[in-house]
Amino acid sequence: MDELFAPPGTPWQRVSPRLVSQRRLILVVLWVLMTGALVGASIAVMQRTLALWIVVVSLVGLAWCLRLVGRSARSWRYAERDDDLYIAHGILFRAMVAVPYGRMQFVDVQSGPIDRMFGIATVRLHTAAPGTSAVIPGLPADEAARLRDKLTMLGEAQAAGL
């Protein structure tokens, strides 16, 4: 990783590798639906060769997207420091946010049905600014709960008035 997104003193903690599997599963399901629809449409208009081409091209596309999704999911990382939390992610579009504990107004843990299948959850932080999109997906469920409790406690302890 380059200097711009280097860890701030404390080393980066990675999220669970199960996030990769979860994201890939969702991608495959969507791919099946989309390709199925296109193939079905082209068979309906009696274009067998077109259907075949669609399958080939979209398989290549799927392989590429799977790799991209994997890299992107593995890029999520966070670092807990004394006064703030750093979260970084992204391969193509990279971003990093530093949220002071004192500015955290709520902390949510969310877990959709597919997340629950993989035993992961997403921690979401809110400050008074809507632009602070501080999200950590793919945390193992117990780690997500621990982080939420810790952040809530620190948020109250260090709360700075608006």
């Binding site: 990093m96 008074a128 600014a129 008035g161 608006l162």
Partner: protein
Amino acid sequence: MKAPTEENFRRLSPLTPVARSGIVLIAVVGATWREIMSGEPGIVALILVGVLAAGAVYGFASWVRTKYWIEGDELRIDTGVVMRQSRRIRIDRLQGIDIVQPFLARLLGLAELKMDVASGNTDGSLAFMPVAEANDLKELLLARRDAVAAPAVETDPETGEPAPTAPPRPVVPDVLLHKLDLRTLLVSLVLSFEFFSLISASAAFVAVASLGGPAGALTGFVPVVLGLALVGFRKLSGFYRFTVSDTAAGLQVRRGLFELTSQTIALHRVQGVVITEPLLWRGQGWARLDVSVAGAQVGDSGSEVVSTTVVPVAPLGEVLRMSRHVLRQLDPAVVPISGIPDRAMWVEPLGQHFAFAGLDDHLVISRSGLFARRTHVVPHRRVQSVRVRQGPLMRRLRLADVHVDSPPGPVHVRMRLRDEQDARRLFERAVVLGRQARTSAR
């Protein structure tokens, strides 16, 4: 004015229902006048008059039920015809009291008393009462509030006589900070985008009409012209006699031609300021100052942030002076700002001219905009979070953006297209300075 008590409670003015719903009254009367005068009221007229009568009865009942008095250290307001409601406002928690006169109320000589309470959502308002009474009540409440804050008289333990007390706190008069004169306001309205659009639309209208264009095209111009004229007129009536004063409760902004409004800004709740220099005003050297203020409701559900124009139009020097006052003596003009590197022109071709940013120990600043140059200023102690972003093109050019997040409002500091290494340093520095500012402000 004698303080109202439970036995001597006071009522609001009986003209209150008229002032509140005057427009409706006029509309209904206007709609049914002909029918009533001709002596043959139709069904619609009867229904409207019936509704009006019901409204009048409800208004009267509501007036009878509304009472206010001072109970102990609270102002108690009882209202409600069907659902009784008793609201209590703690006098010692009053942050500010504003007297507001909406248009119709002003014609009737009435005013509304708006009370701003610190840390709570029991903001109260008493509408409407005669102006003189409103002023007296305001004096009374503020005197009570200040009396509660003053120490009680103590007795000297040896002699048993009242000990000499400190002299009473002097009443600090309001200081006028800024006034907008009519000439500047009018010239600024002329030098605005809306006015130029109005002129061009009118010119086009005249051209089409004189060339014998179809009548339909002509009627299409009318709403455009009216709309633009309305915008200009609203600005004129909104900023007429605009003054900013320093009061004990904060900065008070009073303005209005038809509707006199006043807003009080508590300086410790200011989140940031924006100084806007529109292109059309550059010739005169004028600018505008908007301030982002967090509302009185501090709670878990976030805050309401209000954007207030503290200086609608004034020379840049005056705007900077007022911004220093709003930021409690922090000076945006001394913050060192830098432009963007040459290679950034691949992303933002004209960026050298308008993209600047920088920070010092107290403030973060970013400036952008080719036509309307906007300078966003946020003090470190008001920063919510700091972000750095980099897209693929920017990565090739070794550039990054650093954003400083504030509560929703007109202020957003975006330090764009910084060199990569500078970006990381700015990011870290903003984080450190934010922490220091938060802990020292306590």
